[in-house]
Every structure is written in C-alpha cells, then in structure tokens.
Assembly symmetry: C2
C-alpha cells in the first residue's frame, strides 16, 4: 500500500518530518513516498503546495498525509484547504500551552534550531574536538573530553561520537583497542586517568566480520575467528575494569547515543 | 519565568524532545529546564516517572510540561495521572491516521530510527566518505560524491558536511578555497568535472574574523582585511562560475543543510 506524505513547515520542516515519520512507522504495511516542503512562508508558496498535494491526490487516488508545523495561522488555513489529511502539530498543542503558560505564543518563524552564537560555537567546538580526537589520536586532549568511547575497530565509535557532538554538543573522543592492548589484557595506560569518562562499544562477531569484510575482503583483520577473539577479550576487559559497555548490533546511532547518555548521567540538552 | 519540561518516550525520546522543544521556543520568555526520560517501557518505570514529575510540581509550584510519544496505551495512562500538563503526540495523531489508512497501528516500540541493515550501512558509508574527503583531501573520490561544499577556511563546510551525511546519508565532500585558488580567480581545476555537485558557503567578514581569531589570535589569517579580501574574491568566483551559494552567518546547521538540499534538488529522506 503506497502513500505520499508531505512535511510542510515555514522553517526547515525537520520537526514535522521527524514526528510524521515516527507516526508512520507505526503502520508497517505502508510504503511511503516522502516529500519535504520547507520554507513555506508566504500565502503564495502555500497555494503552490496545495496544488502539488491535490495533484498527488488525483494521481494516487487516495489522500496524501500532510504533516505540518506552521506557525502562521493564515498560511496554515491555506494548507488546510488541500485534499490531504492535514495534521498540524503546532495548531494542536500551542493552544493548551498558551493556557497553561498564561501567555500568547510569539508566532515567530524559524526558532527551532540554535542560531544563538554561544550555542552554535559550543556545537562547532564539540565537532572540532571530536574530529581531532577520532580514532585514538591526540590523547593529550582527553582532559577536555566529556566522554571517551572505547572498542575494537568498526564497532561504531566514530558515527556515535560525531552524532553526540553534532546533536548535543558533547565533546566525544574515541579510542580503538588494538592488538597490543588486547595482548596486555588491561585498559591502555593512556585511558586510566579518565576512567569515569569511558564507555565501551561491542558488537556481535558475525556482524563485525561482515562489516570488516566489506572493507578488507578475506583479510586476517576481517576473519570471523579474529573478530570473535577481539570481542571476547575486549568484553572481559570492560568487565574487569568496570567500564560500562553496550552491544550495538541491533541499535541505531540514536539509540546507542541515548543509552550512553543515560548510563553516564549526561543530560541531553537540545541545542 | 522558569518551567520544567519532561520528554518521555518508550524509545529514545528524541522525537518528543524535538517537537516539545520547538513548541516551547514559541514562548520566548520561558526559561526551560529540560529533562529527557527515555525508555519508559514498563508500568513501573512510568510510575517512577510520575513521582518525579509530581516532585518537580511541588518544588516549582507550577505544572511541569510533559511531552511524550508513548506507543503503549497502558503506560500512557499511567503518565496521564501525573500533575503535569500532558501532551502526547501519538495519542493525538494515531487515531486520525488509523481512520485514514483504514488499518490499526502496530503499537510497537522503538521504530523511529533506522536499524535496517541497508539504511544503517548507507548512513555509515556516507559518514566514512565525508570524513575521508574532509578539507580537500582525496579529491580522486569526487566521482562518488553527491555534493561538494566549497568555501574559505572556517565558513562552516565541515559541520554541514557531517550533518548531511549523518542525518540523511548524503555523501558530502568539502573543498577549501586557498590562497592559490584565490590568486587564479577561477574555480580550482580539480572541481571542474563536478560543477553540478558544487555548492558554495560564504559568511560575513566580521563573523569570519571572530571565528578565526579564536583559533589563531592576531594572525594574518584572522585579520579582518584578510577575511574581507578572501570573501570578496570567493563570492565573485561563485557568481562567475554560476555556483549556487549561501551566506551562513545567521543560519543554524539544520537551516544551511535544508537550503542546500532545496537548491540542488536533493530529496530529504529520513533514515
């Protein structure tokens, strides 16, 4: 069953798309065509969007799903005239919030994302820190890290580090456990002063084998036995050193990041 | 005026926090304390959350704002007994969607983020590509790029590239325009075969001066006159070569990314 969903906003439309997408994932059988229509900030653009939605309605023979976060009432009224199922997230919730907060909302467009200089700078600083300490380099900067991810090669450290820096401004270093570290059967010395910042990532051997095999086919590095050995030793290492750790095999980057923040008690502030 | 907001979910709570946060930004005078309560997936955890909300209610003397995306009806009912203002995004919208789609929702937890192997892999591949082509290296890989950001040092290329790769799986390279390129007054030769993938970033000279000055105080690199000169030449370059470009000074990373995707006609698929 195929449906078209529109995500409409007077800003980036990221909020509309995030919530709309997560609602639709509750309907497993729906195959979705996604169309984002950001920056619909004039009546003219809203009218053009309505035409586009109505065109899809005629083509599909069923109502497009129209998810929106429209601050401006006039623009929202234009969108509401379309032949789709209109679900506006602001319309529904701004009212109850205005009553509870006993204050009118500002109806100002494009306020969702941080453009505040200070927040922007701390976000960029976190990204720069994370890039400069990726893959075990610049360990002399660990004093400034909020979090240091530890694990074998290809266990998901880099994407998770970047996500935490980019979305939450968390200065995240990552350190790969190498053959030398595995032989010593102890946490690498360079990590010892920062034990409270450490978090381990593991992964199922079969999955690690598949990932490494794509990068270096039929190498010793990618061999299943090698993956099993590395993961067995590194998990023992985490256990013996009381380092919290997580198996990432079945998890999205968002889920890994959330579970790490819970485990280490890092507050998640949206920037 | 200070308020406490809770973001509650049986999954990561990222959707609840994104929408809740963007609703609250419509109330400028509200100073917000944010608390994310992810993975509230049992009645016991829901009861503990209610206690925590009620405790804040007694302490603050006013209702906490409780934004949630709870799939499980039983858990949602427990949360709804708290002394906060409860706004559940699923409760409100799942009903109309079930009617329109003529199918019950699956009420299954944790489906919002991609855990699909294929999507996960394409996301990781995009991040690896973007890292390996950051700051003008490995230009021989440009054939595989979907997008190449171009601009002077510190105009926002790296954070934007990483965001596009991480959120949307877009393989984004970036190329810094250097002194040599500025002297030649033409697009660098290495970029010429990929003109349809190019997008330029500019920034106000005063802002660039401030950013560079934090990194290399009082350097020639950071001098206002130097920033003005580089930006003047690079904007001419963009104009003469018909390269679309954007001034990033007043924009968040999300806004820059959205505007680039619109300009180049790249569809934004949530992974």
């Amino acid at each position: 069953m195929k449906r078209t969903a529109f995500f409409i906003s007077d800003g980036t439309g990221i909020t509309a798309q995030t919530l709309g997408h997560s609602l639709i994932t509750q309907f497993e059988k729906i195959e979705l065509a996604q169309t984002a229509l950001p920056y619909i900030d004039t009546v003219e653009k809203a009218q053009a969007a309505v035409e586009r939605i109505n065109h899809v309605y005629e083509h599909d023979g069923q109502k497009p799903l129209v998810f929106s976060t429209l601050v401006n009432t006039q623009i929202r009224e234009v969108i509401n005239t379309c032949n789709g199922l209109c679900l506006d997230f602001f319309q529904t919730f701004i009212g109850p919030l205005e009553v509870e907060l006993a204050t009118p909302s500002s109806h100002s467009i494009g306020r969702s994302h941080s453009r505040n200089k200070k927040e922007y700078t701390s976000r960029i600083d976190a990204i720069n820190f994370t890039l400069s300490t990726d893959d075990g380099v610049n360990t002399h900067q660990y004093e400034e890290a909020e979090l240091i991810l530890v694990g074998v090669s290809r266990s998901g450290k880099t994407p998770t580090s970047l996500y935490l820096a980019l979305q939450y401004g968390i200065r995240t270093a990552n350190y790969p456990i190498t053959e030398d570290d595995l032989d010593s059967n102890a946490l690498p010395k360079v990590l010892l002063p920062y034990r409270s910042k450490l978090f381990g990532l593991t992964i199922d051997p079969a999955r690690l084998h598949a990932i490494r095999n794509e990068r270096r086919p039929s190498s010793r590095y990618a061999a299943l036995a090698q993956c099993q050995r590395e993961l067995r030793i590194v998990e023992q290492l985490f256990k013996h050193s009381n380092t919290p750790y997580l198996n990432t095999t079945q998890l999205s980057i968002e889920e890994i990041a959330t579970k790490i923040m819970i485990s280490l008690g890092i507050e998640r502030q949206l920037l």
